[in-house]
């Protein structure tokens, strides 16, 4: 700062004044561009997905994705993903809320939950989750290794306890053998189970959509209509403002003004889950007593300006993941496009993003946009449901010590 002042003081009065005016204009221009976020060049460009997600050094696995052959760890994770031993009452597995037949998500607006409960948000697809840095609608976990326990042990999801789930694995000879093979341990360890599931989910990636092929040079991979949609996506419709980069998400947080789902008004069990989440996630008493809409990332830091904000959803595989939004209130991609065309539904807390405004899209433009969105999904990924292994009395297969 000292040298900055010296530089100006050294010059003649007039010259430094002209320079300062020009400099200020330049600064204002730059900052207004940043604030408005209107310049597409400032955002990561749309791009094909890398061949495989980045793999953490503390949980190495193969650099391969669907449909190539899984390595041993991925294959173990595949089996665990479908095994209800990873839950409180062995009544539900990961694949029950992330069902291959429902886009590896769940086809109700609000996901099913642990038996005796319902969840309170829409279930998101597991496909391509390995490319995300922020997971869950609040973006609250930063790795698949930490997502798995949050789901397996959450009261509305798996409701499992580590002790019980780990013990079940230890009395399943098939798992004892396979965990030893993959992790080198005498007995299965629940944290390793989560690692294997994460490795499987990284494998569960789709990198050869029409969009990816188009971006890699196959000019005929998408239709002329989709190309028009892609132009709108990055221009007039301004989707790109938040849905950018190869995963079509900036992983930032916005209130886009989604309406409340009718379930919370009409279903007693949904009201139970709603209040429970408001209580268990930690709210002020005032907030708990009055909450009727999902507060989103407010729960993290309890800042009023965070109410109603959620992490931008990725748009890949959306052909198979209806209904849409954190509460599943929009059932088709057409409804989603109409929602944005209106500039959102509701501004509950004055937090609605300034980005949300009416788009005045024509019917043809909306059609083109949907056509483009559909190019972000390839063939549906269906895997056979594996037969989960049985328990056996320890005396049958372990020598007594």
């Amino acid at each position: 700062m000292q040298s900055f002042k010296q530089y100006f003081n050294a010059g003649s009065g007039l010259r430094s004044k002209i320079f300062m005016v020009l400099f200020t204009v330049l600064l204002l221009t730059m900052s207004s561009t940043v604030l408005a976020g209107g310049d597409p060049d400032m955002d990561p460009p749309l791009a094909p997905l890398p061949d495989y997600p980045s793999i953490p050094t503390d949980n190495p696995s193969g650099k391969n994705v669907y449909p190539s052959k899984m390595d041993k760890k991925q294959d173990l994770g595949y089996l665990l993903f479908f095994d209800p031993k990873i839950s409180g009452d062995t009544g539900i597995s990961c694949a029950d809320c992330h069902d291959p037949k429902m886009g590896w998500g769940f086809a109700d607006p609000i996901s099913r939950g642990y038996p005796g409960t319902v969840h309170w948000r829409n279930s998101q697809t597991a496909v391509n989750s390995g490319y995300l840095n922020k997971i869950f609608w609040e973006g609250g976990t930063t790795s698949l290794e930490s997502q798995a326990p949050a789901a397996a042990e959450g009261a509305l999801a798996g409701n499992g306890s580590k002790d019980m789930m780990e013990s079940r694995l230890r009395f399943t000879p098939e798992y004892v053998k396979r965990f030893k093979d993959v992790f080198g341990t005498e007995w299965p360890n629940i944290e390793h189970a989560y690692d294997a599931m994460a490795a499987f989910e990284r494998w569960l990636s789709q990198t050869d959509t029409p969009f990816d092929r188009f971006m890699k040079g196959d000019k005929n991979a998408i239709s002329a209509k989709a190309k028009k949609g892609m132009e709108l996506f990055q221009g007039k419709a301004n989707c790109f403002e938040c849905h950018n980069g190869p995963m079509f998400t900036d992983e930032k947080f916005y209130d886009i003004g989604v309406a409340d789902p009718p379930e919370f008004l009409e279903e007693g069990i949904n009201q139970v889950s709603f209040r429970y989440q408001n209580y268990a996630k930690g709210s002020t008493e005032e907030s708990y007593r009055t909450a009727k809409s999902d507060h989103g990332i407010y729960f993290k830091q309890k800042r009023a300006e965070d109410r109603g904000k959620f992490r931008t959803a990725p748009l890949r595989y959306t052909k198979y993941t209806a209904p849409y939004m954190h509460n599943g209130t929009l059932f088709t991609l057409d409804e989603v496009v109409d929602f944005y065309d209106k500039g959102g539904e509701i501004d509950r807390w004055g937090n609605k993003s300034k980005i949300m405004k009416p788009l005045n899209l024509t019917k043809e433009e909306k059609g083109a946009l949907v056509e483009f969105l559909l190019t972000l999904s390839g063939e549906e990924i269906r895997l056979p449901v594996p037969k989960v292994p049985d328990y056996a009395p320890m005396a049958d297969w372990q020598p007594k010590k």
């Binding site: 409180g88 038996p115 009261a155 409701n159 019980m164 013990s167 007693g268 009201q271 320890m394």
Partner: protein
């Protein structure tokens, strides 16, 4: 063997024999006397009504599949007829379900290994433990707040109190546990021959043996018929625990939860060792009450004995086997005659009263209705 050691060992053995013979002569006066149960202050009927409703309410378990009454059946002496108890779905218990009758008189060390200090602790543990009801207490609270009947009952019973909330008369998990304790207050012996002083001649003879030759009073003493302390009597293991992988892994999960070492290799129920982590405490269990045992077969922490006769034979033989030094020295062969065993049994049966008569609460459901005007009401 070095010269001189053998005579020394003989002396030690002789001393041990003499001292164990001394223990055999039980002086009943050394122990808190048995006697009728003292009266307790009658609980508020409204809190009892709420507690009773909750006792039968499956919404208190994680997947809404079981209630307290599943393992503490009101028609089976508030226990079950099975040697080893039911547990939360997806697991199986490795211990016998103890009766809840007269539990309000116990005062401490609940559970067979005595890990739970008071009834509030006991209830918290039963509701939240993964092998019991696997429930998130905050979710339970919200489930109960969804039921207008429970909400109204709570207002009536706790309208002047706020427990864990700013609102008087609001249902919270504190209130739920308190109401359950008030309900347990009602589960006490009624019309017990022993308490009324209405013993047959044979039973009186049995009482004499109980306090004397049979030495039962060494551990089963006081009005609750238990010293509420851990003892190892050498009860044989129930092989079912280790033959059934679901029971075995439930037990291993419990040992993990309690921080027990070497948990993959234990092939016996370590009992009080779970708490003390002292190897001398392996196989010790808290003395159970003998009241209402007419309704609570099978017996022992693992239900290995199906009848009172088996139990009496077990003690008559000096208890079971364990490694040297592990078993309680109070348990020695008794030399009871067939007639004495009959008398003892007669006395034991006189400790049970009328079955606790019971009307099941009506309208227990796991369904939830939407609250009217939900959008505008305060949560």
């Amino acid at each position: 063997m070095k010269k001189g050691i053998l005579p020394a060992m003989l002396i030690v053995t002789a001393v041990l024999l003499v001292s164990s013979a001394a223990v055999r002569t039980v002086a009943a006066a050394d122990y808190p006397d048995i006697g009728p149960l003292p009266e307790r202050k009658a609980p508020n009927p409204k809190t009892v009504e709420l507690g009773k409703a909750l006792f039968f309410d499956a919404r208190l378990s994680g997947d809404a599949a079981i209630s307290c009454a599943t393992c503490h059946n009101s028609e089976q002496g508030f226990t079950t007829r099975m040697p080893l108890s039911e547990a939360y779905p997806g697991s199986k218990h490795w211990r016998n379900s103890p009766t809840l009758l007269n539990i309000v008189y116990k005062g401490k060390m609940h559970g067979w290994d005595g890990r739970l200090d008071d009834l509030d602790d006991m209830l918290r543990d039963m509701i939240t433990d993964s092998m019991n009801m696997n429930m998130d207490m905050q979710l339970m609270q919200e489930r109960l707040k969804q039921d207008p009947k429970i909400v109204a009952l709570t207002k009536e019973a706790y309208g002047d109190k706020n427990m864990g909330t700013s609102q008087k008369g609001e249902m919270t998990h504190y209130v739920a546990r308190n109401a359950l304790i008030q309900f347990l207050e009602t589960l006490t012996s009624k019309n017990v021959p022993f308490d009324k002083g209405a013993l047959s001649e044979k039973a009186k003879k049995g009482m004499e043996l109980f306090k004397g030759k049979a030495g039962c009073i060494q551990c089963h003493n006081g009005t609750y018929f238990s010293d509420v302390k851990p003892h190892n009597t050498g009860v044989p293991e129930n092989p079912e625990i280790f033959n059934d992988p679901q029971r075995h892994f439930t037990y291993v999960a419990y040992m993990m939860f309690m921080g027990v070492d070497d948990r993959m290799n234990w092939r016996r129920d370590v009992g009080y060792y779970t708490l003390s982590k002292d190897r001398n405490d392996v196989g010790k269990f808290i003395t159970p009450t003998l009241r209402e045992l007419k309704y609570t077969a099978p017996y022992m922490h693992n239900g290995v004995f199906g009848s009172l006769d088996e139990v009496i034979d077990f003690y008559n033989a000096g208890g079971g086997q364990d490694r040297p030094g592990m078993k309680d020295p109070a348990v020695t062969p008794l030399g009871l005659t067939a007639g004495e065993k009959e008398a003892l049994k007669e006395f034991l049966l006189s400790l049970s009263g009328d079955p606790v008569a019971f009307e099941m609460p009506k309208g227990v459901t796991v369904e939830y209705q939407p609250l009217p005007d939900w959008k505008n009401m305060k949560n």
